[in-house]
Amino acid sequence: MIQTTEISKKYGKAEVLNIAALEIPTGQSFGLVGNNGAGKTTYFNILLDLIRPTSGAITNHDIVVSKSEEWKNFTGSFIDESFLIGYLTPEEYFDFIGDLRGMNKADVTSFLAQFDEFFNGEIIGKKKYLRDLSKGNQKKAGIAAAMMGNPQVVILDEPFANLDPTTQIRLKQIIKKLTENREITVLISSHDLTHVTEVCERIVVLDKGQVVKDIQTSTETLKELESYFAL
């Protein structure tokens, strides 16, 4: 369970995030939507303790993220390319992350096998450094790495951006499979309303850092969201 209490982030006088309370139960697939500058990435960055909030705190499975580092054991994330290590090949990178997450080489290989379709033969065995891959392929590698080592919480920022349509569909299947057992909490942010409504059971709309909508996904959700953003 991820609890957010009274969190706010200000840069100078401009307030970019202000959430009074937000509770994400374990096993929920949670979608965060909003226009540019709505505070989606800021929220994820605070959740990962990369930015210090001006006030308030986030608790990830009873651990206050800014106080202890213990949440790192069970949280996988991919925000942007800075999470990758550019001068490694994807294989070396996966081995390294796998090692940090307590997997041996055989574990890593079998883990990556299930991503064969998702990678579409463009990541593994290409003898290319991560920095030389295209944006989309970097993203694929980062997303796969975020799911390594059986995390309980997976955080993906804009996972659908830069991906080709085929891969987007495959990614949706992967995320659905991940949340099937309702043990893993998945947090996704996206601009693409269709994708989030398909994958997430709960969607929160942010606008200028405020929660403006909090809906359980149903058949009407997409229309509701579209009419909201059509303004």
Binding site: L48, K72, L100, G149
Partner: protein
Amino acid sequence: MSQNFKYERYLTSKFTLMCVSVIILFVLGIPYVYFGWKILLVHFAAAIYNVGVNTHVIMYGGSFNRKRINLDEKAAFNYQGTGAVQWLIGIPLMVIPMGLFALLNWQIGFEIATITLAVLGFIGIALHKKLMLVITKKYHASKYIMIHAFKQEN
């Protein structure tokens, strides 16, 4: 930064890396014994001082680092990270032990000077755990500023 990697472990790896390079350099310096055993003795004392004191000073200084180094660039003629601050850190690293040694050697004698350096090094090694705790705290305190700074391109 959000990987399953504790800050303390990161700093310990850095420490190990520096210790290994000090030892390697000491071994490479052994042939200097050709010019007299005194040189070897001083080298040995200096190596201990480096492991015990300087490693901690470097890491403490490192917490003030705000400069991003682009590791994707070529290594040859790469002057990233050679700035005034880096030279400032060099002053306590080199001048203090050399000055101390010169002073003691001149005032009291060679043996005392060498022993002082070694003893300082041993004190540093003995206090390693405590020093690491202080350094880790310092890094934690400046963590957000460093992440912010490293995100900027130059």
